[in-house]
């Protein structure tokens, strides 16, 4: 089993290397102008330069911080609200229609609203990230709480657990697989919106870095930013995966 996994990992690495080599070949053959597609070597050089001068690291840190802040906001709100809605039929009926109306709104559609409310500020970007990442968290949490085995609630009653203890010890852990799946989606949404928000509001970060590089025809810098975005997405998926594996250890039975 372990050997199999290693083979797969090696395979995925090979695909990645092949893509980079193809990119290099296309760029060297000048099939696309280097103004639009610089070879990976130059992108790498730009990345190294950016890291050495510390500029790109600072942009990256800005984006990471923004993404995590917005996502954390969405998570806290999403889990709290989701728990309320998922455990209470009344709340589901009262809030359901409003949520159904808000849910399909694309986050980009509320960006102008957010700009009108908060201006081109950091708060605006955070608000947009929070709004966008809220939905996957909220819906997953509602689902998780609504799907708790009814027998376990009965066990809680028979043991005389308080309402709060039932939520904390029975419902929340039972909903955890769903919540983590929502967190994974929410983190992706947060990353996308952090980039878009930075571009629109001109906040310091990778999104803005990419936009400015594109306007100045600094293609290697632009691609360095894009690569970092990709790596950031990959890293956040890895982290959630680790948390999932730890928190859901009991499922591997």
């Amino acid at each position: 089993m372990r050997g199999r996994g290693a083979v797969w990992q090696l395979g995925s690495l090979l695909v990645c290397v092949a893509l980079i080599l193809a990119w290099q070949a296309v760029a060297q053959a000048r099939l696309v102008s280097p103004v639009f597609l610089p070879p990976p070597t130059r992108v790498w050089a730009a990345l190294v330069r950016g890291v050495e001068s510390g500029v790109i690291v600072q942009k990256l840190a800005g984006t990471v911080l923004r993404m995590i802040e917005g996502w954390a906001l969405a998570s806290v709100l999403g889990v709290a609200l989701g728990a309320l809605i998922g455990t209470s039929r009344a709340a589901r009926q009262w809030l359901g229609p409003t949520l159904e109306f808000l849910r399909p709104l694309p986050s980009s559609a509320i960006i102008p609203v957010a700009i009108a409310l908060f201006g081109l500020s950091n708060g605006m970007v955070l608000g947009v990230i929070g709004f966008g990442a809220l939905w996957p968290m909220l819906l997953a949490t509602v689902h998780g709480f609504a799907a708790v085995e009814p027998r376990l609630y009965e066990v809680g009653r028979a043991l005389g657990l308080s309402r709060w203890a039932v939520i904390r010890k029975v419902a929340l852990p039972s909903a955890m697989p769903d919540i983590l799946a929502g967190a994974r989606l929410g983190l992706t949404v947060a990353l996308v919106l952090a980039g878009v928000g930075e571009m629109l509001a001109g906040r310091d970060g990778l999104g803005q870095w990419i936009l400015l590089a594109a306007r100045a025809f600094r293609a290697p810098d632009l691609y360095a930013g894009v690569v970092l975005f990709g790596l950031l997405g990959y890293a956040s998926a890895l982290v959630i995966g680790l948390v999932e594996r730890r928190a859901l250890r009991w499922r591997q039975g």
Partner: protein, 253 residues
């Protein structure tokens, strides 16, 4: 001394349907009462009334002289579907701990109690296993350990061994007899296995359906301790078995 369990003219109507009618019952302290009857006659419902999980629409249920209006900590329930009644994300130790937490046992006092309780049901070696890693018999033992953690005056068991194979079932029957013999708890045991009822009980109660009512109350005059081979060969056991089979045949007709 007041009977630990007393039902006075208890009736239950749910959604316009008469489920139990005119139940009068007194159960002596420390006795073992088995309830039999055809499927759907209201055995589980009767147990849930005693547990305080459902409240009667007429009459009243008393435990230790006080009216039951909600589940009590000194009344423990072993559910038939052990697979759903255990927390899958907690280990065996964690599941027992849930009852101790509900009882307000200090965290420092818990490990020793847990070890003792798991030892009493023969799960000392399996404290760190998750329910999914345990056999059905082990899971049901774990549920019993969790109930013993409540130090119950009254132990309610709803077809606890119904889903287990014959060998496991006989083993657990003897374990339960030994455990309640030690603790002095009053047991209310629902089963559809007539031999099991005769083997375990001091009294066997026969219910008739539509609406569920008590039709028969049979005293079991078999010596204790009971023995899987010797007891089941006694003429009195065979006579009882015959009486219960005849009752069921007329009840189902």
């Amino acid at each position: 001394m007041t009977a630990p369990i007393a039902l006075r003219n208890v009736g239950l109507t749910l959604g316009g349907k008469r489920i139990l009618d005119g139940i009068d019952l007194e159960i002596a302290r420390g006795s073992f009462t088995c309830v039999v009857g055809p499927s759907g006659c209201g055995k589980t419902t009767l147990l849930r009334l005693v547990a305080g999980l459902v409240l009667p629409t007429e009459g009243e249920v008393q435990i230790g002289g006080t009216r039951v209006v909600a589940p009590r900590r000194d009344v423990a329930v072993v559910f038939q579907d052990y697979g759903r009644a255990l927390l899958p994300w907690r280990t065996a130790a964690g599941n027992v701990s849930l009852a101790l937490e509900a009882m307000g046992v200090a965290p420092r006092a818990r490990p020793a109690r847990i070890r003792d309780l798991l030892g009493r049901v023969g799960l000392a070696e399996h404290a760190d296993k998750f329910p999914a890693q345990m056999s059905g018999g082990m899971q049901q033992r774990l549920q019993i350990a969790r109930c013993l953690a409540q130090q119950p005056e009254v132990l309610l068991m709803d077809e606890p061994f119904g889903a287990l194979d014959a060998m496991t079932r006989q083993g657990l029957q003897d374990e339960v007899l030994a455990l309640v013999g030690d603790s002095g708890a009053t047991v209310f045991f629902v089963t559809h296995d007539l031999e099991e009822a005769a083997y375990l009980g001091d009294v066997v109660i026969g219910l008739l359906p539509h609406p569920g009512r008590i039709a028969r109350q049979v005293a079991v005059k078999l010596p204790r301790p009971r023995d899987q081979l010797a007891t089941r060969e006694l003429p009195e056991f065979l006579r009882l078995r015959r009486e219960l089979f005849d009752f069921m045949r007329t009840a189902e007709a």
